[in-house]
């Protein structure tokens, strides 16, 4: 207790004395010394007051009637709330027996009679203070013990030689230290030699410098790995306080976090993050040692299709297989030659999806890197087996090397990626070295892909509509919806360019869905007025059509917009139809029964089996523009058109010619009996509003012509 508290409240002293004059003197002396005095003139009264008022100090005359001082003292010691109150016995001078009895009964001190009254106050104050200090020390020790008990760390005090002087075993204390503490051996004898040596140095260092030292000790015992964080501080001139914390759990947790952060959970290979770190380290070394490094970038050409058609579990199994092969390859001397000799000279990683990388350090030449890539490629191309099925994976590889192809991580990885794309473009399953010319083209493509992804997500696309004309009735039979995209910087991008990109980048499904939705919105807008019977045709991509619930999706989209289902026409290519005939028949039948119209697009370019074609519930064939464009050139194309038209007629299908651009082409088609035409000669694709205006204008003209009974050839480009 701090001294301030002693001064602030007057301590209470109880004096038990049966002699009234001595009691009076004691009161006067103690009051003058700053005490509040309680008096008792017999033993019972004294005990009662001590019990009730818990004085800070008690003075007891030994000899009192009924209950003597010794008895009172012993009883006070048994009362819990006052047990540690200091008790001073007033004993006779030279009364050895009394003094002995006083201590035996638990007295704190004694004062022999006759009492020197002028000194009594000082004496009692001194004992009182000593008691408080002692009590304070006991309190603080108790707190310290609680503290130490609550700390999970082990604490020990060791001398210079490492002998344990004091030991507190922490929650997960090391058994080795327990042993030292119990048998008095030096910790140096029990700890593993390397740790003992480190401790010996640390103890000496700490004693020498007076500074704290810190280390981490890894102790392996009975196959269990324990990690301890050890801190040492000087304790006395020749002993050291050692605090040892078991950090094994933390270590394990850290390792797990590192594993999750830096390793791919599917294959166990390092992930993109750790690959980038490895490259960055390797790059630093290469720069320092003036050596070359290469990044091999692998992508599995047909993996997306396997994943889509056979499910993710098969895909995952194959990815694991690829990872194992890559690892085997880089370990096997014949695959990577001398790279296998050192651990870190070659590192494999999975960047994500079906992209894998191999980092080669200290490469001698470009040829060496491509040699390694070729060997890995051929190893990966060997058939794989999964659940009794055989798969052949064909990877493409790109290589970029420091210093030739870049001197920072990003550039090297990007260029390796681009080289890989170039390999794909060259026909897949091959290796391509990065080259400077590649970058512009590939960058453009990557940029387009990125912008297209954003445009689709944001709905930043547009549908244009190209009208179709019936050659017989001279009516507009409908419009074909064609998707248009305007790049924010490059301006309009041709569908011939961006649709293949969408297909390669896995965006085609999103794009197709957007088209379906946009067309349905347009049809709804045209409903209920003068354009109520306009039909809109949309192109279904193969991927979209292969979705198991494509029929539901389309019917739901039409229902959501509430127009007559026959106003939506679906155009599918031959390739799409022939991919899975059974499913095609089922899906088309469902759509057809719902009322939608179905046309085969680009007819003549694929390999349609006529027997299958008959099974499909289709309404129309569209002659591919390539035949139409050459129809008047005197080649085969006119015969092909004739054959298609005849075929359509024999099957009771409507036939539509696409890409009609000249009056000559139109004449030929009319002659051959083609039902409808579509092309710039009649009308180009136009935005929705413009299309509506065109249709209305055309409708008015036609009505006028009908009223004039005019039969002049009607077909002319009428454009807004």
């Amino acid at each position: 207790m701090p001294p301030g508290d002693i001064q602030s409240s007057r301590p209470v002293v109880l004096i038990a004395e049966d002699d009234p004059s001595q009691r009076m003197l004691a009161r006067v002396a103690l009051e003058q010394a700053g005490f509040t005095v309680l008096e008792a003139d017999n033993g019972h009264d004294a005990l009662d007051k001590a019990d009730r008022q818990a004085p800070d100090i008690v003075l007891l005359d030994v000899e009192m009637p009924e209950l003597d001082g010794f008895a009172i003292c012993s009883r006070i010691r048994k009362l819990k709330h006052i047990a540690d109150t200091p008790v001073i016995m007033l004993t006779g001078r030279e009364d050895d027996e009394s003094i002995r009895n006083a201590y035996d009964s638990g007295a704190t001190d004694f004062i022999s009679k006759p009492v020197n009254w002028s000194l009594l106050g000082h004496r009692v104050r001194y004992i009182s203070r000593a008691t408080r200090i002692g009590r304070g020390l006991r309190e603080s020790e108790k707190k310290n013990r609680a503290f130490i008990k609550a700390i999970p760390d082990s604490m020990l005090i060791v001398d210079k030689a490492g002998r344990v002087l004091t030991h507190h075993r922490g929650k997960d204390g090391s058994r080795l230290l327990d042993e030292c503490a119990s048998d008095g051996r030096s910790v140096m004898e029990t700890l593993p030699p390397t740790i003992a040596e480190s401790w010996r140095k640390q103890i000496a260092g700490v004693l020498n410098s007076g500074e704290m030292s810190q280390s981490e000790d890894h102790i392996e015992a009975n196959g269990a790995h324990c990690f301890y964080e050890t801190r040492m501080v000087p304790y006395t001139a020749d002993s050291v306080l050692v605090i040892q914390r078991d950090v094994s759990e933390k270590k394990r947790a850290d390792a797990k976090v590192r594993r999750l952060a830096f390793f791919d959970t599917l294959t166990g290979l390092p992930n993109r993050q750790s690959f980038l770190i490895q490259v960055s380290e390797a790059l630093r070394e290469a720069k320092a040692s003036n050596s070359r490094l290469s990044i091999l970038y692998f992508d599995l050409d047909n993996f997306k299709r396997i994943n889509d058609s056979l499910g993710h579990s098969t895909g995952d199994a194959l990815l694991r297989g690829v990872a194992r092969r890559l690892e085997q390859c880089v370990r096997r001397a014949d695959a990577v030659a001398r790279f296998a000799s050192t651990d870190t000279s070659v590192q494999v990683a999975r960047l994500g999806g079906d992209e894998f990388t191999v980092l080669l350090r200290d490469v001698q030449s470009v040829e060496e890197a491509s040699g390694v890539a070729e060997r890995i490629l051929s190893a990966l191309s060997q058939p794989m087996h999964y659940h009794g099925q055989q798969f052949v994976i064909t990877p493409s590889a790109g290589i970029a090397s420091y210093p030739d192809d870049g001197d920072d991580v990003d550039t090297l990885v990007k260029n390796a990626d681009m080289a890989m794309y170039s390999a794909k473009a060259q026909g897949r399953n091959c290796v391509s070295q990065f080259s400077g010319t590649m970058s512009v083209r590939s960058l453009e493509r990557l940029d387009l892909e990125d912008a297209l992804r954003k445009a689709i997500a944001a709905g930043d696309l547009e549908l244009h509509y190209q009208p179709k004309l019936s050659l017989q009735s001279r009516e507009v039979t409908g419009v074909e919806a064609l998707v248009r995209w305007t790049h924010p910087e490059r301006g309009p991008v041709s569908p011939a360019k961006f649709i293949p990109i969408a297909e390669d980048a896995g965006l085609i499904l999103d794009l197709s869905r957007w088209v379906l939705e946009a067309a349905c919105r347009q049809l709804e807008r045209w409903s209920g007025g003068d354009l109520d019977d306009v039909r809109v045709a949309i192109n279904l991509s193969g991927k979209q059509f292969r979705e198991s619930d494509v029929d539901d999706q389309i019917i739901a989209a039409v229902d959501a917009h509430g127009f007559e289902k026959s106003r939506l026409e679906l155009e599918l290519t031959e390739g799409t139809l022939m991919n899975d005939v059974e499913n095609t028949v089922r899906t088309l039948t469902r759509l057809k029964e719902a009322g939608l119209k179905i046309a085969v697009d680009d007819f003549g370019t694929g390999y349609s089996s006529l027997s299958y074609l008959k099974k499909f519930p289709i309404d129309a064939l569209k002659i591919d523009r390539s035949f139409v464009s050459e129809i008047d050139a005197g080649g085969n194309d006119r015969s092909i058109c004739a054959a298609i038209i005849a075929l359509a007629q024999s099957m009771g299908l409507k036939v539509i010619a696409e890409g009609v651009e000249t009056a000559e082409q139109l004449q030929h088609l009319r002659f051959l009996g083609c039902d409808e035409i579509q092309g710039f000669y009649f009308a180009k694709p136009m935005p929705g509003e413009e299309t509506a205006a065109f249709l209305r204008r055309y409708l008015r003209k036609r009505q006028r012509r009908l009223s004039l009974a005019d039969d002049t050839p009607p077909v002319q480009a009428i454009e807004g």
Binding site: D19, L25, G92, K113, P114, V115, W117
Partner: protein
């Protein structure tokens, strides 16, 4: 007997406590002793007559302490002897000691009365 009738040291110690509020402390204490000593002596004689060695021992113990308190060292010494005799139940010795104690008390009280009178004056 070498023991002085009155030892001035305890009296000085009491005088030291004479501070405002307790100006006549020594006189009060001496007065209390004069009365107490006479009472104790009477008590001792009674106890002797009734043959109560325990009562003698207790009274002697009390007198031993209170006389020492006012410096009446000869009274205190005789009280000690009497206390021991009481413990030993030596009643004959007790009678003898009580007689001598009476003389010592007279002697001490005369001196103490002088001291008190001087202090009062």
């Amino acid at each position: 007997m070498n023991t002085p009738v009155i030892d001035p040291v305890p009296l000085d110690a009491i005088r030291n406590l004479e501070q405002p509020g307790h100006e006549n402390l020594l006189n009060t204490i001496i007065g209390m002793f004069l009365e107490q000593s006479v009472n104790e002596l009477a008590g001792l004689r009674e106890a002797l007559q009734s043959g109560s060695a325990d009562a003698i021992r207790e009274a002697a113990h009390s007198l031993k302490s209170s006389s020492a308190n006012v410096g009446a060292m000869r009274v205190s010494a005789l009280s000690y002897d009497l206390e021991q005799a009481g413990k030993d139940r030596a009643l004959d010795l007790c009678g003898m000691l009580i007689d001598r104690l009476a003389l010592a008390i007279d002697e001490a009280n005369a001196r103490l009365s002088d001291i008190a009178g001087a202090a009062a004056a």
